[in-house]
Amino acid sequence: MNLLHEAFSWLTTADAWGGSDGLGRAVVDHLSIVAVTFLVSAAVGVPAGVLIGHTGRGRVVGVVLANAARALPTLGLVTLFALGLGIGIVAPVVALTVLAVPPLLAGVYSGIENVDREAVQAARAVGFTQRQVITQVELPLALPVILGGARSAVLQIVATATVAAYVWPHGLGAPILSGLALSDYPRVLGASVVVIVLAVVLDVLLAGLQRLLTPRAMRPARARGRQRARDHAPVADLAPDRVG
C-alpha cells in the first residue's frame, strides 16, 4: 500500500505532468495514436464490413480474421513491424491497425446482417437504390452494433498502444517502461493508474455515445425485461477481444 501512496503523491507533483517526458505530453501522445489508428482502421474496416454485410459474401473471411486476431500476440506484432518498417510512428500504427480492424469489421457486418430484412425489402420496394439502402436503412439501423465494435477496437488500441511504447517511446507506456528500467516504481504505478483511468473513461464515453445514437425504438427498454433484451443482443461476433 505504501507504493500506492508514493505513486499518488508522485501524481500530484507538477514534475510528473510537465515537460517533454511528463504525463501531460504522454496522455496527448497516447490519445493521438489512438485517434490516428482508429481513423486508419475505420477507413479499412467499415467499407469492408459494409461489403460483407450487404452482399453476405466473404463472411468467412471476417470470422477467420476475428479469430486470428484474438490469438495474435500484440508485442510480437509491434516488434515485427518495428523491425520491418523502422523507428517511428508508422510501425506501431500499422500493428495497432491490424489488431483494431477485426473487431470493427465484425461490428459492421454483423450489425448489417442483423438489420430486419423486411426493412430492407420495404426500402427496395419503394424504389431505394443500393446506395440508399446502405446509407439510409442498413447503416443507421446497424449503428448500435457498429459502435459496439468500435468500442472494442478503441479499447484494443488504447491497451496495445501502451505495449507499443517498447518500440515507440511515447504515450503512457513510455513512463511505465522507463520507470521499470530505472526501478522507479512510483512512476510505473502512477502512469499505470493514469492509463487505466484513461481506458475506463474512454469506454464510458463510448458507451454513452452508443446509447445516445441508438434509436429509441431499438433501446432495450427496462419494462420489456432484461431477459428479452439479452436475447436480442447480437452476441456471437462481438465477444470483446482482449489481446493487448
Binding site: L72, T74, G76, T79, L83, S192, V195, I196, R242, V243
Partner: protein, 219 residues
C-alpha cells in the same frame, strides 16, 4: 525462420514450457471461479447487477498497467510472475462470468423443475442437469479465454516473467525478425493446439451433442 527453429530448439522448449504454465494457471482459475459465479448470477438478479458491470470495467484495463498495479494491491514483488497469473485470471473471469451467466440462464426452467419433481437435491440437480445443459456455451467461452490468454502471456515478457514473449524482446533488441516471427508462429500454434484440445475434450465429455447432428441413413 526455419533456420531459427533448427538452431534454437532447446531455448524454445524452455520458453514454451514457461508459456504453457503461465497460460494454464489463469485458465484453471478462471474456470474454478467463473462457473459457480455464473451459475449464481443466473439465478440472483442483484449478483448479476454487480458482476456484469464489474467485469466490463475490469476488461477495459490495459494488460501492462494491470500487471504493474497488482503488486501494490497484492503485496507481491513487481516482477513476480504471480502478478501475470492473477491479471490473466481477472481477464479470464471478466469474460467467462458473462458467458457462464448466459449459459446457466438458458437452461430451460422445465428441465430444472422436472429434476426437482423427481427428487433431485440442489447439488445433484446442478451437476447432472444445469451443468451438462450449460456445457456447450461454457466450452465456447473457455476456448475464447484460452486463445486470448495464450497471446496475452507474451506481454509479460516486458516485465521479465519469461514465456515465448521473450523472443519478441530479444528478437527486437538483436534486430532479428526471424526470432520475432518464430515467437508469433509458436504462439499461434499453441493457441490452435489448445483450442483443438478443448474441442476434443468437449466432444468426449458431451457425446450427446453429436446425437443432434443430422443422422446419416445407412440405406
Amino acid at each position: 525462420m526455419i533456420h531459427w527453429f533448427t538452431h534454437n530448439g532447446g531455448r524454445l522448449g524452455g520458453l514454451l514450457e514457461q508459456h504453457v504454465v503461465l497460460t494454464l494457471w489463469p485458465l484453471a482459475a478462471t474456470l474454478v471461479l467463473s462457473i459457480p459465479l455464473g451459475a449464481a448470477a443466473a439465478r440472483l438478479r442483484w449478483l448479476r447487477r454487480v458482476l456484469l458491470p464489474l467485469s466490463g470495467v475490469l476488461y477495459t484495463i490495459p494488460s501492462l498497467a494491470l500487471f504493474l498495479t497488482l503488486p501494490s494491491l497484492l503485496g507481491t514483488r513487481v516482477l513476480d510472475p504471480v502478478n501475470v497469473v492473477v491479471a490473466l485470471s481477472i481477464y479470464g473471469c471478466a469474460l467467462m462470468v458473462r458467458t457462464a451467466t448466459d449459459a446457466f440462464s438458458q437452461v430451460p426452467a422445465t428441465a430444472r423443475e422436472a429434476a426437482t419433481a423427481i427428487g433431485y437435491g440442489p447439488a445433484r440437480r446442478f451437476l447432472t442437469v444445469d451443468l451438462p445443459l450449460a456445457a456447450p456455451v461454457l466450452l465456447a467461452g473457455t476456448r475464447v479465454v484460452a486463445v486470448s490468454t495464450v497471446s496475452l502471456v507474451s506481454v509479460g515478457a516486458l516485465i521479465g516473467v519469461g514465456g515465448l514473449g521473450v523472443l519478441f524482446t530479444t528478437g527486437y533488441q538483436r534486430s532479428y525478425p526471424a526470432e520475432v516471427g518464430a515467437g508469433i508462429v509458436t504462439i499461434l500454434a499453441l493457441a490452435l493446439l489448445l483450442d483443438g484440445l478443448l474441442l476434443g475434450v468437449g466432444r468426449l465429455l458431451m457425446p450427446w451433442r453429436r446425437a443432434t447432428a443430422p443422422e446419416r441413413r445407412s440405406r
